[in-house]
Amino acid sequence: MLPVAVAKKGDAKAQAAKVAKAVKSGSIKKTAKKIRTSVTFHRPKTLSKARDPKYPRISTPGRNKLDQYQILKYPLTTESAMKKIEDNNTLVFIVDLKADKKKIKAAVKKMYDIQLSDQPN
């Protein structure tokens, strides 16, 4: 706030005179005290920069290990499964534990070129 230059010992008096003049002329602004309307103090938002690493920590991201071959393991051939094939026009597959319905749908489409209808279960 105050116009402070690197003062030499001899200039102290001159600097004091300078400051006094500035105060009199009113060029020094007093910062108004901020009023607080809430009792709690919330952390003010400061600048948050996005990551920009100088070198990647891992050289390449790993390959996708849950591809369509991994998702659909093999079809079931039990009696009840056979029944479903004939009566309900469905196939029953043993599927990887980590697959969800969307992934399964995509995998079947890729592997067998079938269009799946939205069915319960």
Partner: protein, 123 residues
């Protein structure tokens, strides 16, 4: 692919070829797995092991090629952590050979002016 997969042939292929071969092998494996469930012939069942190891070989070659290409790309630059030597944690934290060899000016002068002398005694 009926013939036994040879690794030195694999190393000659480029990335697209290897990925294509990988896809074929995986498709073959899925067929064999179906055959296993539906009571397939023994020659098919024994092929499962062959195909699995071939897939492993192709994946190994792919990964090795990728790593060596990356090392080329990162030459004289800061290496990513998985391209740096792994050794052991303690070894990585040791002083390097160069750091161990550093001597103060004082020590260097001492060695120069007062080296270890060798004498022979005449009997």
């Amino acid at each position: 692919a009926a013939a036994r997969i040879k690794v030195h042939e694999l190393r000659g292929k480029n990335k697209a070829d290897l990925q294509g071969q990988l896809k074929d092998l995986k498709a073959e494996l899925s067929l064999l797995r179906v055959a296993k469930v539906t009571g397939g012939a023994p020659n098919k069942l024994s092929k499962i092991k062959v195909v699995r190891t071939s897939i492993a070989r192709v994946l190994t070659v792919i990964s090795q090629k990728q790593k060596s290409a990356l090392r080329e790309a990162y030459k004289n630059k800061r290496l990513p952590l998985d391209l740096r030597p792994k050794k052991t944690r303690a070894i990585r934290r040791r002083l390097t050979k160069h750091q161990l060899s550093l001597k103060t000016e004082r020590e260097k002068k001492r060695e120069k002016y007062f080296p270890m002398r060798k004498y022979a005694i005449k009997a």
